[in-house]
């Protein structure tokens, strides 16, 4: 045998006519199409592929499937596509595949982190809870511990691949494409059901592909032939969909199942077709589900059971018959049930030298004993493994009788390079448990199996605790028919495939020993339960001793069953050991909770198409392109992008805002206000409705007039504000804040539908129907008159808070004289399709007045000069109208939303935070928004008594100084008082409490 010495001369489902090259670490190897990374490495004699999480012990390949705990590597050619924690047992080989070991430095063979193994006695489970406390505390150690911990490295660059999500409905979803799953799909498919069949691996067949075709025939055919025939029939059915490389990872309520399909992970990135996604998420809503996800073999728990070269016996069979690899030359098999013997004889038939079979049981099947004896295999019944040797791969097993009689305790040492362990099969009940079905413990198989179902599902085959091949076929047919019937179809009985008598047998009687006895003292036994998290029996014993008796507590204390594998092979052994330590039966201690996802699913697949520009809707106004062409920088407001400021060549953001804010009070400023929420309120009771939702009175507002309104929640806190205009007696145009539009409309609809269904009012969102150009400045009425045909906008004739219908170049517009700046201001509303055109008209005709576009930042500054609030800046859901000094906005008579809450004792406290102005003694000092307001010049010892915080703060070019608004306890009574505002990097700043209208204060002072 050469370097390829572990590849069997024949057999397996690989394509031996082609050879692929792949690399692992610095080495390059050959493989065949059909290989997984695991089978290819094993064929090349590479058992050790990883280091463990905590002790950095050498880790080999334990299994052949998704249950693999420790054989994790990093896949990918570059820093964008690197994929950590990939199970070598699942990654398929493609030409040029690059894999790297992880969790080791500098190399896999020589890893500094393995020092942890030397000090292992000092770092048992929970050591850091006990160690890293007191001075300087966990916070100081955490960065170090975090750096030392962790598996793999996340990709460093954005993900370049495509992912997609698909919604699917079906009558019957079959999970698992083995013998039971295929029969279930066939039974349901023939009945005419819409079927989805999901198989986790690349091919249908399941355990059928792990059997020697010369020993097992199905209906007289080789298993693979039978699988191909059934697959062909299923594919010919138009309503049957077969997904391979697809894992059902989550069973949620109402029969919603998440399926994760790896569409192109098995292809070389260079050969992936352009439009093909990397992975796909299927969101499946199934009427009925068949769970046929098979079973998982558990290892045996003995001293030094974690060396590379120790593999599950069933997995060895998979490597032999599916991949044509026998991962060892001199083999020892340790078992506690019949399936280990089947594996041993399989290996012997394939040419392996089976040195010994060690059985924990004293009674073994006579057929097995005879066959083993005939093949010259040494048999150790009623025996235990007391230890193993071999640094990076097993080289020797020590065995002795379980019951010591006389002085026969001296162990026999057997040389080997592969130890196949068979600890019994456990039904894969993860999805069943996720569906909230109730497990029951079956003493026959010493494992949990599905008990009472909760949702519309049933388990079949090995997933249901039946391990014989004939049973799996019959179970699958039954479950498929049952599911089809439950989905309303009429299935016909199905002929069950015949298998030879040897195919009937499952695992037979089983003898589980929670921890195999060794010759060493108890405290020196290192028997691993969880190979990924390095949890030993000693750790679990310590957990119980320290009071973490519940399985859930012991799991968290020891990390057993955590990590990327969630203890698929470990959990049952952990429960068994805990039960033995507690002196109770396994069913009495129960299981940990099975949670979604069954195995790690990429965030990218869950996010699907909703990334980047498609993450959330991005709304832009009709004038957006103009803004972009004129130096605008944007900010997101709700779903909208708004121009924040228009930067001239070489101008800083701050300078632009100052220039824009100056222009709006000196010449004419123009703002794109299209994003404000607009609701058309219509109906005979519209007026009454407004009167109930706003704090102020609306019954007497005449057509053609507008009013500012404040909207509260029932808790009395400010929710939204805006100007609403009366168009006709039964027709109003309401505006809301940009971000609050959807929330306000939803809330108003709620009240109309549920509280006041007697009111005849109809609400329509018209936000996007109108583009709004807001003009501001002492001379802006001239521009409005110039623009509008036959409208004299002279403020004397066009009073404040009124509106006019007019035309611009023949296009109808609505002009409102309202103001958010305190300056003379008009808002022109035009159909959105004319928005850009109107804006251009404004710029053209306004040029002679020096018209200046201004963005939202200048708008915020301008309104702060006047002391106007912004909902969400001066309010945070704990601020009521009285706090804002808006008692004038609250009507005295009649109910409105939130009114009663204004009279709650808490609303009437006199130390509530109130909105005030703050002026720094240094006019150039601009306070930080969010900074805390305190009562003293120096910060006292923490906790410092906080009086409130700065809500808005700007440098005002029009006032020539900084201004700020703040919410301060009992604020208005403090007017004229000196307070301080704390800073992160410096002494607190002295401020004077003032009224909020800074413009009025200046005029008075100037007056």
């Amino acid at each position: 045998m050469s370097k390829h010495g572990y590849r069997l001369p024949r057999g397996g489902l690989i394509d031996r006519t082609r050879t692929l090259r792949f690399s692992f670490g610095r080495q390059t190897f050959d493989a065949h199409p059909g290989d997984t990374l695991a089978s290819a490495l094993l064929a090349n004699g590479e058992h050790m592929v990883a280091r463990s999480f905590k002790y950095h012990r050498p880790r080999g390949i334990l299994s052949a499937g998704s249950e693999e705990p420790a054989a994790l590597v990093e896949i990918g050619a570059d820093r964008a596509r690197s994929d950590p924690n990939t199970r070598v047992t699942e990654q398929e080989i493609f030409e040029g595949l690059k894999a790297r070991p992880q969790n080791c430095w500098p190399t896999l063979g020589f890893d500094i982190g393995a020092l942890n193994d030397v000090i292992a006695p000092f770092i048992p489970a929970g050591f850091y809870y006990k160690t890293f406390k007191g001075w300087p505390g966990w916070m100081a150690f955490e960065p170090l511990v975090r750096r030392a911990a962790g598996l793999g490295r996340a990709p460093a660059l954005p993900d370049p691949d495509r992912y997609e999500a698909v919604n699917r409905h079906c009558d019957v979803l079959v999970i698992g494409g083995g013998p039971a799953g295929m029969m279930a799909a066939l039974a349901a498919g023939r009945a005419g059901a819409r079927v989805m069949l999901c198989e986790e691996t690349a091919a249908l067949g399941g355990t059928l592909l792990s059997r020697d075709p010369e020993m097992l025939s199905v209906d007289g055919k080789a298993p693979a032939e039978w699988v191909a025939a059934i697959r062909a029939e299923l594919e010919s059915m138009p309503d049957v969909a077969i997904l391979t490389r697809a894992t059902a990872f989550g069973y949620y309520s109402h029969n919603f199942v998440g399926v994760w399909e790896r569409v192109s992970d098995h292809l070389s990135p260079a050969t992936v077709p352009q439009r093909m996604p990397r992975q796909r998420l299927w969101r499946v809503r199934a009427k009925e589900v068949v769970l046929a996800a098979g079973s998982i073999e558990r290892p045996l728990v003995f001293h030094e059971n974690d060396r590379p070269g120790i593999m599950l016996a069933g997995s060895v069979r998979t490597y032999m018959h599916r991949y044509g690899v026998l991962p060892g030359r001199r083999i020892v098999v340790a078992t506690n049930n019949d399936s280990g013997w089947d594996a041993a004889l399989d290996m012997a038939r394939a040419g392996g030298e089976v040195a010994a079979v060690i059985d924990l049981r004293s009674e073994m099947a006579p057929t097995h004993l005879t066959e083993a004896a005939r093949r010259g295999i040494a048999i150790y019944g009623n025996a235990t493994i007391v230890g193993t040797e071999g640094r990076n791969r097993i080289s020797r097993v020590a065995v002795r009788p379980l019951t010591r009689r006389g002085g026969s305790s001296r162990p026999v040492e057997i040389e080997c390079d592969l130890l196949a362990v068979a600890g019994g099969w456990a039904p894969n009940v993860a999805l069943f448990a996720q569906s909230r079905g109730k497990l029951r413990y079956d003493e026959q198989i010493e494992a949990f199996r599905p008990g009472r179902s909760w949702q519309h599902e049933r388990s079949a085959g090995a997933a249901n605790g039946f391990f014989g091949m004939a049973e799996c076929f019959a179970e699958g047919a039954r479950a498929g028919a049952d599911a089809a019937r439950a989905a309303g179809l009429d299935p016909k009985p199905l002929a069950i495939p015949t298998v030879p008598a040897s195919g009937q047998i499952g695992q037979g009687p089983i003898r589980v020993i929670p921890e195999l006895p060794s010759n060493r003292p108890k405290h020196k036994i290192r028997a691993f339960i969880d190979l990924q998290d390095d949890v030993t029996t000693k750790d679990l014993g310590l957990a119980v001793k320290e009071g973490y008796r519940s399985v859930e507590h012991a799991k968290r204390y020891t990390t057993s069953g955590m990590g990327t594998d969630q203890g698929k092979v470990a959990n049952l052994n952990a429960f068994g050991f805990l039960a033995s330590v507690r002196g109770e039966a396994i069913p009495a201690i129960g299981t940990t909770t099975f949670r979604q996802p069954y195995k790690p699913v990429t965030f990218a697949a869950l996010a699907g198409q909703h990334v980047g520009d498609l993450f959330a809707p991005r709304r832009t106004t009709a004038m957006h392109d103009w803004h972009r062409a004129h130096g605008a920088v944007f900010e997101p407001v709700g779903d909208w992008l708004r121009a924040r400021a228009y930067l001239k060549e070489g101008e800083s953001f701050h300078a632009a805002v100052q220039r824009e804010a100056r222009a709006a009070r000196a010449t004419i400023g123009v703002l794109d206000a299209s994003t404000l929420g607009k609701v058309d309120v219509r109906g005979p009771d519209a007026r009454e409705f407004l009167n109930r939702v706003y704090t102020n009175a609306w019954l007497k507002l005449a057509p053609g007039k507008a009013r500012y309104g404040l909207m509260l929640g029932e808790d009395g806190m400010v929710m939204d504000d805006g100007v609403t205009a009366c168009l006709a007696d039964d027709h109003f145009h309401m505006t809301t804040t940009t971000g609050g539009a959807a929330r306000v409309l939803g809330k108003l609809e709620d009240y109309l539908q549920t509280e006041w269904p007697d009111l005849k009012v109809y609400l329509t969102s018209v936000t996007e129907e109108w583009a709004v150009v807001s003009l501001c400045g002492p001379e802006c009425h001239k521009l409005v008159s110039d623009l509008c045909d036959g409208l004299d906008a002279d403020p004397e004739k066009f009073p404040f808070m009124t509106l006019r219908d007019a035309h611009v170049g023949g296009v109808p517009v609505r002009v409102f004289r309202i103001s958010f700046t305190g300056e003379l201001s008009y808002e022109i509303n035009i159909k959105a399709s004319y928005g850009l055109w109107l804006w251009q008209q404004v710029m053209e005709k306004g040029a002679q007045y020096g018209v200046t576009p201004y963005g939202t930042e200048a708008m915020h500054l301008l309104r702060a000069e006047k002391g106007f609030i912004i909902v969400g800046q001066e309010t945070d859901g704990t601020v009521n109208p009285l706090d804002l000094g808006l008692i004038g906005m609250v009507k005295m008579k009649g109910d409105f939303i939130g009114r009663r809450s204004l009279f709650r004792p808490d609303s009437m406290r006199d130390d509530r935070r109130e909105l005030v102005g703050l002026l720094t003694s240094d006019p150039n000092m601009v306070l930080m928004e969010g900074a805390q307001v305190i009562g003293g010049e120096a910060e006292s010892e923490p906790p410092v008594p906080m009086l409130g915080w700065v809500a808005s703060s700007y440098f005002s070019p029009n006032l020539g100084r900084s201004i700020a608004m703040a919410l301060v306890k009992g604020g208005r009574k403090r007017t004229g008082e000196q307070l301080w505002v704390s800073r992160r990097d410096g002494a607190p700043v002295a401020v004077m409490v003032t009224a909020t209208d800074f413009l009025a204060a200046r005029e008075k002072a100037d007056g």
Binding site: N167, Y252, S253, H254, N255, F256, R283, R285, R436, G437, K438, L439, R440, Y441, D442, E443, P450, G451, R452, W454, S550, V551, E552, P587, A588, I589, G590, T591, T593, E714, D715, G746, E749, D750, Q753, T754, E755, P757, D895, R899, R900, S901, F903, R904, P905
Partner: protein, 125 residues
């Protein structure tokens, strides 16, 4: 991921709906007269039962109608949906128990998952 039958549109995925809290809590009309404690009850206090609750739901990404639902919070079974203004339907007193069969109060971990002898599919006593 509930499958919800909107009384106007039929069965739809939960993603189309918004939950609106407990149903049948009418806004007091005489709030002026209400003592603070009763108003606080209307504002803040909800029943939060383990078992049947009447809830408000809104078909937000659909017809935008509000409707009511009876749901068993212990099992997530939707027992009834009905339009606003319709009386709360009577549901069978023989409600499905929680999957793990635990008592109405408590989390039902560990031992609660054990199946009793004689229970369907369970070990024979």
């Amino acid at each position: 991921m509930f499958l919800i039958r909107c009384p106007w549109c039929g069965e739809r995925d939960i993603a189309e709906f918004a939950h609106g809290g407990e149903a049948h809590i009418a806004r007091p009309e005489d709030s002026e007269e209400l003592p603070d404690s009763e108003w606080a009850g209307y504002l803040f206090l909800r029943t939060n039962p383990k078992g049947v609750i009447a809830e408000r739901w809104n078909h937000q990404a659909g017809c935008r109608r509000w409707f009511n639902m009876l749901r068993n919070t212990a099992t997530d079974d939707i027992l009834a949906v009905y339009k606003v203004g319709e009386p709360r339907p009577e549901v069978s007193a023989n409600l499905p128990a929680t999957p793990s069969g635990e008592a109405a109060i408590g989390s039902g971990n560990d031992a609660a998952k054990v199946m009793a002898p004689g229970e369907r599919g369970g070990p024979v006593a």
